[in-house]
């Protein structure tokens, strides 16, 4: 028997679900356009190579063979394709470049986990503005977009991937040890972290650093807290930068909406500097995430600094509901009067939404406003 359902991790959206999602999409598009971001559209299909060069996890990518037996993928994110576009089509263009998109992306997730394999990302990428100037601009843009959440509890959490990775480099930890530590810290799997750190051949001070790291999240006072475990100049320099960034955000009036997480680790390998996520009450995972990725375009042939973020539209749409204000009328008519009904409807459509309905129990055209 043929079953007419959709593949795992995909879904149909109907009625109010579409209204909510499109409303949000329009809101973010407007915000990004006002910030000077031009839209870019890239194909849904890309060569696998484009995504493997950016170290997208192999098992997370949908793979298909094309007619000439090359592996193509359904795009896993938009940052990689747009970076490809910038490094090739814009390699001689003046900087900065600002691009926005709203597009469906595909990732293979664990089955039956309630996660979506197809989801809509709405975001921006800013090319050619270095840290810290570009960092502040993009954070303020994200906060501006998120202001639609007013009335909900939410926070934009900022970290820097180098706080962890520079510490590992300074201690010359092996790659496998770094991966293990990153995994435990990322999952805040504190028991395993503690056991593992105790086994490492590093000093007590450095052990303390890794054990405390998962707790370095919270309000802006976290930065001062982090000073006590930062054990070299490079770590302090990261904290200095973060401090001045937060100071500027505070001056701009965003103190309540931001927080710090120094244990934050990147979702994608290509991030090189600050990384950030937004969380809202009622949604289990982050609703916005982004960061600086200064070395990605280089892999496509042109070295341009970059930073950007994506908003997860599907998650947000479950939180915010929109009631359209458009007036709607139902125009009922007997079959014999269809021509006249269509004439009248055309006129009404200039100001309202008109739904037609045939009704042979009536003699005249009736117009009723919908509640």
């Amino acid at each position: 028997m043929v079953e007419f359902t959709t593949p795992p991790g995909t879904r149909d959206l109907i009625r109010q679900e579409c209204v909510d999602k499109r409303f949000l999409e329009q809101h973010f598009r407007n915000v990004f356009t006002r910030w000077g971001y031009e839209e870019v559209m890239t194909p849904m299909l890309e060569y696998y190579q484009t995504f493997s060069i950016a170290n997208m996890k192999e098992k997370e990518v949908y793979k298909i063979l094309d007619a000439s037996n090359r592996i193509v993928t359904l795009r896993g994110d938009m940052t990689i394709p747009i970076s490809r576009v910038v490094a090739t089509k814009f390699k001689d263009s003046p900087l900065p470049l600002r691009f926005q998109y709203c597009a469906n992306v595909f990732k293979v997730k664990e089955r039956l986990s309630g996660n979506q394999n197809e989801s809509t990302d709405c975001g921006v990428e800013l090319y050619g503005v270095d840290e810290p100037i570009g960092d502040l601009e993009i954070l303020v843009c994200a906060l501006d977009a998120l202001s639609i959440l007013e009335g909900c509890q939410y926070t934009l959490e900022i970290g820097n991937r180098n706080f962890f990775y520079n510490a590992c480099t300074a201690l010359s930890l092996e790659k496998s040890a770094v991966e293990k530590l990153a995994d435990y810290i990322n999952r805040k799997s504190l028991k395993e972290l503690q056991d593992y750190v105790d086994e490492l051949a590093i000093s007590e001070e450095h052990k303390h650093f890794f054990k405390q790291l998962p707790w370095l999240c919270g309000d802006l006072s976290t930065i001062a807290e982090a000073r006590s475990i930062a054990f070299n100049k490079s770590l302090h320099a990261i904290l200095d930068e973060l401090e001045s960034l937060c100071h500027q955000l505070k001056e701009l009036g965003y103190e309540q909406q931001i927080s710090i997480d120094l244990s934050k680790l990147p979702r994608m390998e290509y991030y090189t500097g600050i990384i950030f996520d937004a969380y809202a009450e009622g949604i289990g995972d982050s609703i916005l995430s982004g960061g600086r990725y200064d070395q990605l375009t280089q892999r496509f042939g042109k070295n341009i600094s970059a930073i950007g973020f994506a908003i997860r539209l599907d998650a947000l749409a479950t939180l915010l509901h929109h009631t359209p204000t458009q007036k709607t009328v139902t125009l009922s008519y007997p079959t014999s009067m269809q021509t006249e009904a269509l004439k009248q409807a055309q006129k009404l459509r200039e100001t309202t939404v008109v739904k037609l309905l045939t009704d042979n129990t009536i003699k005249q055209i009736q117009i009723k406003e919908e509640a």
């Binding site: 395993e192 997480d261 009450e281």
Partner: protein, 212 residues
């Protein structure tokens, strides 16, 4: 307001006891009748009792901020939560067991393992560098080597009585298990103070009691 998902059954009694020692108002949980949600009589917390796997699901989706669940269940799940504390209760371990003459770690040729926990089993044998076929069994896993369906089993062992009665011996410990506190990723940020308070209270209660 915090919502806490507790695992029904084996862990339930010990968890409730630990909460009581931490000074929480858990009377409703002790005398539960048919209710499904239990408000704390002292703090702004509501508890609900669910099956272990569901506990993880509730926390992952943010319906519960916090969950108490066995490491065995977490090892089979997909990590969309923070595992912040080892409660040290409900201790047991995953073991590799079989009939004395069936040491699969030394066997040559195709190996079949019966288990309720395919993810744990897969990871264990991958670490050992052994290629095995896993057969998912839902209950009385000890039967499979006896009947010859599998060469060995990976299962949870508390006392070892069941194994002994069936003539099986332990060949290796796969890993130790105890109850863990898991936290939803968004709650960890948005209700940080309330969560930290609960964790501290639990930590103090564990210190005062010796659960070993």
């Amino acid at each position: 307001m915090l919502s806490v998902a507790l695992t029904k059954g084996r862990l339930e009694k010990q968890t409730v006891k630990l909460l009581e020692q931490s000074g929480y108002g858990i009377e409703a949980l002790k005398d539960k009748g048919r209710a499904l949600v239990f408000p704390d009589s002292k703090k702004d917390i509501s508890y609900f009792l669910v099956k272990a796997n569901d506990c993880v699901t509730y926390v992952e989706h943010g319906v519960a901020d916090i969950g108490v669940v066995g490491k065995d269940t977490l090892l089979e799940s997909n990590d969309q939560y923070y595992e912040v504390m080892d409660l040290g209760i409900g201790k047991c371990r995953f073991i590799l067991a079989s009939l004395p003459e069936n040491n699969v770690l030394k066997k040559q040729g195709h190996i079949k393992i019966g288990t309720k926990y395919p993810t744990v089993t897969k990871r264990y044998f991958k670490q050992k560098g052994l290629d095995v076929e896993i057969i998912k069994i839902d209950g009385s896993v000890e039967l499979t080597p006896i009947l010859g369906l599998c060469d060995a089993i990976v299962d949870i062992m508390e006392t070892g009585t069941t194994l002994k009665e069936n003539g099986l011996i332990v060949f290796d410990t796969v890993c130790e298990i105890s109850a863990r506190v898991i936290v939803n990723k968004a709650s960890f940020r948005l209700k940080r103070n309330e969560i930290q308070e609960l964790l501290n209270d639990l930590k103090n209660a564990i210190k005062e009691t010796d659960y070993d």
